[in-house]
Each structure stands twice: as C-alpha cells, then as structure tokens.
Symmetry: C2
Subunit: 222 residues, 2 copies
Amino acid sequence: MAHPTDFELYGFWRTSATYRVRVALHLKGLRAEERVINLDAGEQLSPAFLAINPLGAIPALVERGHPPLTQSLAILEFLDETHPAPPLLPADPHGRARVRSIAAMLAGDTHPLITPRVRKYLAGVGGFDDAAIKAWMTHWFGAGLAAVEQRLASEAATGAFCHGEALTLADICLGSITVLARVNKLTLPPLPTIDRIMARCEALEAFANADPLKQEGAPKAA
Amino acid sequence: MAHPTDFELYGFWRTSATYRVRVALHLKGLRAEERVINLDAGEQLSPAFLAINPLGAIPALVERGHPPLTQSLAILEFLDETHPAPPLLPADPHGRARVRSIAAMLAGDTHPLITPRVRKYLAGVGGFDDAAIKAWMTHWFGAGLAAVEQRLASEAATGAFCHGEALTLADICLGSITVLARVNKLTLPPLPTIDRIMARCEALEAFANADPLKQEGAPKAA
C-alpha cells in the first residue's frame, strides 16, 4: 500500500470523472488528499492550478515526483497496473476488451457530451435555454445508458456485475454516469439490469463513499 | 500472424474510429476483411448489421467464434495484448498512463462531440444550420487539438512521436483526428508539434493506407 500522502487528487464534488478515480483509489486501498477545484468558480483555470496541471483539467492525480496523471480511464488503468489487487480488469483478453468497451461507451461516448464546457457552448453560441440544456443531457444520458442496458441484458458475460462476478472498470464507469444522472434529476428510460448491478455496487463502501453529495463543496440538500 | 480471414472489420471510409483500428491492424501485421457499413445510408441500423452487432455501432471487429469487439480504444488494447509486437504502449506505467491520457483527449474528449448522431441532434432539435454545424466541429476539433499541442510542445516525454521515439496509441488517435479535420476541410489553429509528428506518421505505410480518402465508398475527388 502506498503512503497516504503519496497522491493528491484534484477534483470537484460533482464530476463523473473524479468519482471514477475516487472509487478506484478506495478499492485499491489507496488514500489521496482530495483538493477541491471549484469548476463553478473557474478555479480550473487559476494560475495556482495551472501550475499543477497546465491543461486546467480535472481530475488530476498527482504522485510526488511525477507529472500529473490525467484522464480518468488512463488513471484507472495506471492504478490497476501499479496496484494489481483487487484487479479492475478480467484476466482474459476478450473479457478485458468487453469491459473496456462498456467503460468507453460511458466515459467515452456519453460523458464528454454533457461536460460544463459543452453546456456552456450550447447556451452561449447555440442559444439553448435551461430546458433545452436539460433535454440535451436527458437525451444523451438516456441514449448512452439504454445502449449499455441493452448489452448487459443480452450478453451472456453479464453477471452480478457488468462482467461476471467481479467488479471491474465497467461498473465504476456505470456508477459514475448513473450517479450524475441522479444528481441532475434526469428522467431516464427503464434500466432494470443497470439498476440491479448498481444496487450491488452502491452497497460497497468504495461506491458509497464516492457519492458526489457526500463530497466537500456539494450542496447541503440537493 | 493471424490468418487473413480471422477478422472482419465493419467500418466506414470516413470514421475516425475505423481509421484507428485500420492503422493498428496494419502495424501488427494483421489483415481484416473490411465490410462497408454506409452510415449515410443508415446501414448501421439494418437488420443484417444488427444481427452482427446489436448496438449498431462501428467499428466492430469480428473474430470468428467470439462476440464482436467494439469501441476503438478497447480494440486497440486487445490487439496490443494478443499481438504484442510491435507494442502500441510503452513498458513503464507512467509512460503508459501518459499515452492513454493523450489518446483519451482525442478519442474520448474530442471525437464523441462531432459524430453523426450529435450533428443530427444539433441540426434537428437544436436548429443548427450548416454553418453552425461547421463552427461546432471547428471549435471542438480546434480546442481538442490545441490542448494536445500544448502538452506535446511542453512535456519532456514528447519525442519524434507523441511519446518518445516509438509509435503508440497516442499517435494513432492523433492521426485519426487530424485526418478527419482535413477531410472536413476545417480551419485549425497552428499546430507545429502535431504537424511534425503527423508528417513522420504519415510517411508510414500503416497510416498512409488507412487514409479515409483511399477507402471503398470515399468520394472520388474530395
């Protein structure tokens, strides 16, 4: 196990990508000092944070003596390679490909569409009002989760978790999207397989503790 | 080397994600029969293709006896694990994390914003006209590539390629976005480091042969 102060995690209560890293650190038994970068206040572009990550992007996982690690899936793969127990990927290449594919449907196809910078463009340049922004988010969360539901409900490899009986990257990514849909109070299509898997995940301390509403800076009664 | 008919690649001339798989197959010395799924004609939702991939998503790499592999980065990781030479990732975890992070900035943060389904929503629901769609694409390609340019120009790990002196996943993803920007005739900010690395990549047969304009179904004089 790494020393508690070996990592600093720069993140924000609400972001899906920070959630993914938080869950993975907990599962691996690693602790990171979490540093709040308030996206609503534009702190990701402050000189203090740009000195840490010139890209102004969170999450950034900082390990002493190394450049910041960025991009949640790259960070999860790094944690899995450097701290292999418990594994976040199955052992066989086909299983690993399936898990990474489900993870990419969520963290890749779905999440980038509803980030603050995209909503800002739609509101500013695209003339979207609040209702149109909410419809946009509902559409893409719904489409992304419905596609994953279809896979999970129909593919033989699905088990108690997204892939068999062990938790993987795919479950972490699924949690990061379903939790964000809940925070944003979005109305989604029925997702029975996802609901079943998420109930199992959210019973685990790693998922429960990563809940956005439990983080520093979260609204008190959301 | 796998038998030439071990894989079928379902793709389309223009898509960035198909390009990535095409380059990786070539680099690994693997051959796949490419099956054209004409997105403009809606063939991704045809019963024939849905029987192969119920998600209606390309690229899909089909290996006999296995479910289709989907999501380009998951496919590239699979090919790298099952056919390790030449490697598409460096050997050290920090280097692997950097390469995966750059790849995710392109295939994850940038590409999902400009896919046909997103442009269709913007045109249909959002009321974007052709000029607004082009401005949208120019904005996100420009922002994504400028962020990668900033990293490549400033980070010590950049070499002849995105990461040191060997080609990686990051270069494949970079090529897939720069080529698509060219096909769409987008006006981008100056990208001197990216231009230098791409000149090196495009001198390689794997990149040259994957050029969208050389594929079946591409317009004759674009």
